[in-house]
Amino acid sequence: MTTKLPQSQLPEEEILRVAEQEQEEKSQYQRHIYVCMGAACLAAGSATVKDSLSEVVDQNGFAGRCAVHGGGCRGLCAEGPTVTIEPDDVLYGKITPQDAPDIIKNLGKKRPLERLHRPTDRPFFLRQQRIVLELAGKVNSERIEDYIASGGYKSLLKAVHEMSPVEVINEITRSGLRGRGGAGYSTGLKWRTVAKADGHPKYVICNGDEGDPGAFMDRSVMDDYPFRLLEGITIAAYAVGAEQGYVYIRAEYPLSVRRVQNAIRQAQRLNLLGNQIAGTAFNFDVQVRVGAGAFVCGEETALIASIEGKRGQPRPRPPYPATAGLWGKPTLINNVETFANIPAIIRNGADWFASIGTEKSKGTKVFALTGNINHSGLIEVPMGITLREIIYDIGGGIPNGKRFKAAQTGGPSGGCIPEEHLDISMDYESLAGIGSIMGSGGLIVMDEDSCMVNVAKYFMEFCMTESCGKCIPCRVGTAQIYRILDNTTRGTATLSDLEQLEMLCDMVRHTSLCGLGQAAPNPVLSTLRFFRDEYLMHIVEKRCPAGVCHLHPEPALYNDTKESVR
């Protein structure tokens, strides 16, 4: 596969030329202004901010000296729209179009504009370590040239020119990278299984069906680093011997769909996708598949069914997709963040990656930090950091002087972490040890005003409405569990309901067909484990200690809200 073809196709030199040209063009400008084009900042109006900055630059004769670009996310989503100015590394937040003249006038001055300045020498930035979100905010997500100029695609070229597929797999295995979708299966092992599986053709699928409430890590990667994602997918395809790839993105992420499609077109133009990639005999192409927004399609067998044009429902495993996946062929399916880690591992080596994190959980993890926290946003931290560091150092603690109550990881499949476990190391094993999971990276912080029964009810309602309905335990069990939780928050549940709740959770967990059902009871089991007293207060004393639920205790018979009819 590594045999070099005659230099008729765009070869490595051509890529280097693109990079040089881009750098040269960039160096003509003294200042580069990157306006965040991530979903949160766009929603806050960053597109008009970018327009007005461009306008002011043109009007004031800065046109040749200052360039305005659409950039990526710095993670401070609560401060959007944000603007990054290079090479000064000045970050401004909460910009309005009216701020544009002041910002341009201030360029080149020693001190940044005080009223808009968001210093980056703060723990929020200093405690993070960025691999997946590398060059945050400082690379144009819609220009492959910009990505190449900042070092992109070096890893793919290295892989296809200098390494055999087996060497690539060995490197990924040695790095200790584990699946970032939640379960934490060894990425190298998965790649090796697909590479060794009989069957042709083979497929690579990128799972971008991020659906946990409060999670937007994958969305940010697809929005801001679509080229890095594609590079990772292409390296994976080279390693396992796949010729066709799919990026499965939910329809609720139109920006991601657009950016990834744009990235595919640009990569094809530079022959970084398509036939004889970078002048080698390696052929690989990628298509985007848009999902209809069913949470269950994040489950790999349901996702595959959806790509095949069928109803998105899981099927029993084994056989695993690695041996019989898309169209029954060997299929590698990894999460967005997993693929986004690949270029850095190939570039810097397995040892470098393995030096980050804990013994069993290597590298970094991106979290979407939301809820009752001062600095909500997107963060990337080394594995093994404590929850306390994330919440109090990076997140800046709980607003309004409230007390921390719990943090939910893993969304509706995860569990809560109470105050006594604040010093837990954030890695796969430690989180599993207290009944939660790493999950895909949602991290919801709750303060003393949150009712844990209500939280469990919220997640159960989510699972109930997102259950595909195929297997009975998940279809009916989640509805029965939800009913008991709903009665608990209304004050009509009894102690025998609590017993039934635990019985149902046990059954749904052990008998459901797929991960959605098997993990659906986790939020209930976890809140029961750490906050059982709150359940008892609702049931026995008929009161909600957090003051969230409105309890109207009535005889069980009158649950139905309706009056008797005469």
């Binding site: 109803r311 099927r315 195929k470 009975i472 509805a479 009913r483 008998t511």
Partner: protein, 236 residues
Amino acid sequence: MSGVVTLKINGIDVGAQENETILDVARENDIFIPTLCYLEGLSRIGACRLCLVEVKGISKLLPACATTVAEGMEVFTDTDRLRKYRRLIVEMLFTEGNHVCSVCVANGHCELQTLAQQHEIDYVSLPYLYPQRTVDASHERFVFDHNRCVLCTRCVRVCDEVEGAHTWDIRGRGIESGVITDLNQPWGTSVTCTSCGKCVQACPTGALFMKGKSVGEMVHSPSFLTFLAQMREAKK
């Protein structure tokens, strides 16, 4: 000819071909494993979870209908834990629909009713959900009473896999999902239905029945499928 393996089911040594499922082997040896979505001759979807069994050394419960045997496997089909789960699953089916055995066309010939008896369900401990469901009597010869549907999808599969019409499919999600005709229209207006009646014969409950049948009169005979499956095998 595939290889032969030996395994233990409930402590009894049994022999099997290596591509057989645990359910196949159990049935050959008269070992009872309850099923609902499984029907010989149709694809095995492992959806009802009633055939879950314990396998020594594997922490997860495995669907017997969709798990192939392996050399030295030790299978347990009737443990306390499995009995507890199966009972709950059958109970949940009763709560999910509106099943009134006494006035059902399939009374006495219903797999759900039989499952309840097999699991000694003398009452349903979970509360009934009483959903609002419809009855589609628009077809000339058949009726679909959604109140009695357990969503086993045997009708969907027999129509797709055996008749080749794919008149049936599933709409909605979770507890709200249901069987639909074509693009969710009355059965009588379906343009794909061939009126072959295979779905009616494949139905385990009184959800699908022939017009004119009264209480207890609807006897399904899904055995035609076994025959078709055998004929197909012979043809191969």
